[in-house]
Amino acid sequence: MIAEKRSRLLSEMKSGETGLVVAVAGGKKATKRLADLGLTPGSLVRVVRKTLFSGPIHIEVCGSKFAIGRGLAQKIIMDFNA
């Protein structure tokens, strides 16, 4: 069986899932700031947890954890094996 390759937004991923960043479509500043923290196209991101409603998402990138707003997570396109 071949794993079906799909892409979706970081905001749509579930807690515990890991995926590869395909593109960051956020503003210039936010994109740069994410890159400084190691979140660039090609990096692996693990969703540690999500909050109730549409709060921020707790993620792990490059071995360190941070929180990013949901609005920004909606602009990060992920590619992962479902």
Binding site: A23, V24, G26, G27, K29, A30, T31, K32, R33, L34, A35, D36, L37, G38, T40, P41, G42, S43, V48, R49, K50, T51, L52, F53, S54, G55, P56, H58, V61, C62, G63, S64, K65, F66, A67, I68, G69, R70, G71, L72
Partner: protein, 646 residues
């Protein structure tokens, strides 16, 4: 030659790497040690005497990169390239090695004399992280010293290394990007002559490809023909990779950091990390997280106010005796009265600082040092977004609960000016400990604790509404939350005390002079006999609209100094501390509502003035006065209605 014995070093690193601890340890000066990203903004300098050397140490702001994103980043790279420090110490968080190395690689590109301090090695060890220091040193061709800045471990090794390499630049290994990028860099550097700019040619080439605004402008002014070539090359990179050339480089840089980390770091499964994950599972959970937050914050308030009321009572007795002694010793004259006004202002500050503000900040910074405050920002981010700001603003709100002065100052952690201003305005509406003294001393004591807590809920709803309105009025794109979540760690007493002292110092330095001067001024007005004129002038508002005794006009003027004076003076004017005899419950609630919102105290006003200019400050004050009076009048009418109906 004495010149040779005098050297300058700078500390550069990302937030939370322990840069401030290292600075304290090197120079013996006190300053902030925080968990918040990018908190250090002021320029901090100190001097260290070691062996025969005098070493000037400069603490650069905590930043994540050397690309123009924030003022701090520009400050840092300009300093390094223009002032040529003898050595740059890159303070690296050993527990976040990969992320930190991204910044280290950028420092290496600046070709400055560099030493890496791999800080917090004890925490890294506890978390099962093993780092091969020698290997890293070899790979970067840069000295690497493991340190534990908070305990002074590794500091002398570090200074010895600095003395060895001082002034010796560009000996580091050059890390190579992928072939296409290196091609572009090569083509650009061939167009730039050595020493043509204050920056290294290779660095200029990289920054041009990264579309750095400042560097593009600098090069464009001197050699506009290079920009054409840059455009051509970055378009080429974008075509090949499918995204912006600045991202292509950032991506390769973080990939380099990843490879370096894999080569030198091994992580074993361990107890500490799993404990941290278990704590997070409770404190950041979508349900239990909020329960824990309410319990912790509620517990903190309960403790602070129980302790504060007890200590404040003790002070009351002491100060009353002191006043009697003063009257006997100095006699009763206008001058003596003015003198007492000055002393009274100081005593009023003491009475709010020690019983309430001090314990509040100690507890707050224990929570911060432990790592909990970042969790609150996480939990509250969604709500904050509805006000056009993000989760970090919560930190300012909580600080504002102690005192609005450090609360407003802490708004500097917000990224954009727009958000800084919105947050500061909202902080002025946060009931500080002085306001809480009124709320609990008047409403809590004589009307009921539930009413007092109700007023807090009311304040929260109000702050939320004002936030919503101001985020609609002040145009600009909201900034999204991007915040590192530090692991929980045992709070360090030293850093808790130095942060508490810093907040208290802001309160004392900024509040005290303003409060003393205005205290004397108001007493002078009182002595001149203008107070009754003022209170009758204000009576249409105080008596007719708010239904309060005429004397409250004077109280509200004194309240601008320190809000708790409203309560103190109320007792003095009415001749009793048993307020229930002279005020109805409706009046007490109305007075509390006016006191909570009518205007920030003078000390807070002076902070707003400094940070945002007089125009905005005056508009905020005028709006708040008008709004608070209108609101309190409505509250009074509502209460009257319900009381008569009941």
């Amino acid at each position: 030659m004495p010149e040779n014995n005098h050297i300058t070093i700078v500390l550069a690193g990302q937030g939370n790497a322990g840069k401030s601890s290292l600075f304290n340890n090197l120079t013996g000066l006190h300053q902030h040690i925080g968990n918040w990203a990018g908190k250090t903004i002021e320029k901090r300098e100190g001097t260290l005497f070691y062996k025969d050397y005098t070493i000037d140490v400069l603490d650069l702001p905590g930043i994540y990169s050397l690309t123009t994103y924030s003022v701090e980043e520009v400050i840092s790279r300009e300093y390094i390239t223009h002032h040529h420090p003898d050595c740059v110490i890159n303070v690296v968080d050993s527990t976040n090695l990969e992320r930190s190395l991204i910044f280290t690689l950028q420092l290496l590109e600046l070709e400055c004399p560099l030493v890496l301090a791999l800080n917090m090695r004890d925490l890294a060890k506890n978390r099962g992280i093993n780092i091969e220091y020698n290997k890293l040193q070899g790979l970067l061709n840069t000295p690497v010293i493991p340190t534990v800045a908070s305990r002074g471990y590794g500091i002398t090794d570090l200074i010895d290394e600095i003395l060895k390499i001082k002034g010796n630049r560009s000996s580091h290994a050059v890390h190579r990007y992928g072939k296409e990028i290196e091609d572009c860099i090569g083509q650009l550097t061939s167009l730039i002559q050595i020493n043509e700019f204050a920056y290294p040619a290779r660095w200029i080439a990289i920054k041009l490809l990264e579309k750095d605004k400042d560097i593009t402008k600098l090069v464009g002014d001197q050699k506009p023909e290079i920009l054409g070539k840059t455009k051509e090359l970055s378009d080429h990179l974008e075509e090949m990779h499918g995204h912006d050339s600045s991202l292509v480089i950032a991506d390769e840089r973080s990939h380099l950091a990843y490879q370096l980390t894999r080569e030198i770091e091994t992580i074993l499964p361990n107890r500490i990390t799993s404990l941290n994950d278990r704590l997070d599972a409770i404190t950041m959970d979508r349900i239990s997280g909020y329960i824990v937050m309410v319990l912790i914050m509620g517990g903190m308030f309960f403790t602070v106010f129980t302790f504060g009321n007890w200590l404040s009572g003790l002070f009351d007795t002491m100060f009353a005796q002191f006043h009697d002694w003063w009257n006997n010793a100095v006699g009763v004259s206008s001058l003596a009265s003015l003198g007492w006004a000055a002393i009274e202002s100081v005593l009023a500050l003491v009475q709010i600082a020690f019983p309430y503000i001090l314990p509040f900040y100690i507890m707050l910074y224990v929570l911060e040092d432990w790592g909990y405050i970042a969790r609150i920002s996480f939990l509250m981010d969604h709500l904050m977004h509805k006000m056009g700001i993000h989760g970090k603003a919560c930190i300012s709100f909580i600080i504002g609960l102690g005192c609005n002065v450090p609360g407003c100052l802490s708004c500097r952690i917000m990224e954009s000016r727009r958000e800084r201003f919105i947050t500061a305005v909202l902080v002025t509406l946060v009931p500080c400990s002085a306001v809480s003294v009124i709320v609990f001393g008047l409403v809590g004591k004589y009307v009921g604790l539930l009413w007092a807590l109700g007023l807090y809920v009311f304040a929260m709803i109000l702050i939320f509404l004002v936030g919503r309105i101001s985020s609609k009025l002040l145009l600009g794109e909201p900034v999204e939350l991007i915040m590192p979540m530090p692991d929980y760690k045992a709070p360090q007493l030293k850093s808790v005390f130095s942060q508490t002292w810093d907040s208290l110092k802001e309160f004392i330095y900024i509040a005290a002079p303003v409060v003393i001067v205005s205290g004397i001024l108001i007493r002078a007005i009182d002595l001149a006999g203008w107070m009754s004129a003022i209170s009758s002038f204000l009576s249409p508002v105080t008596v007719n609209w708010l239904g309060l005794p005429a004397v409250t006009g004077i109280l509200l003027i004194f309240g601008i100094l320190r809000k708790e004076l409203i309560l103190v003076m109320l007792a003095a004017y009415l001749g009793t501390t048993h307020f229930a005899d002279v005020l109805s419950p409706q009046q007490m609630i109305t007075l509390a509502v006016v006191s909570m919102f009518y205007v920030p105290c003078v000390a807070t006003i002076s902070v707003l003035w400094n940070e945002y200019g007089w125009k905005k400050t005056l508009i905020v004050c005028a709006l708040e006065i008008f709004f608070a009076i209108a609101l309190a009048g409505l509250v009074k009418r509502l209460l009257d209605f319900f009381y008569s109906a009941g």
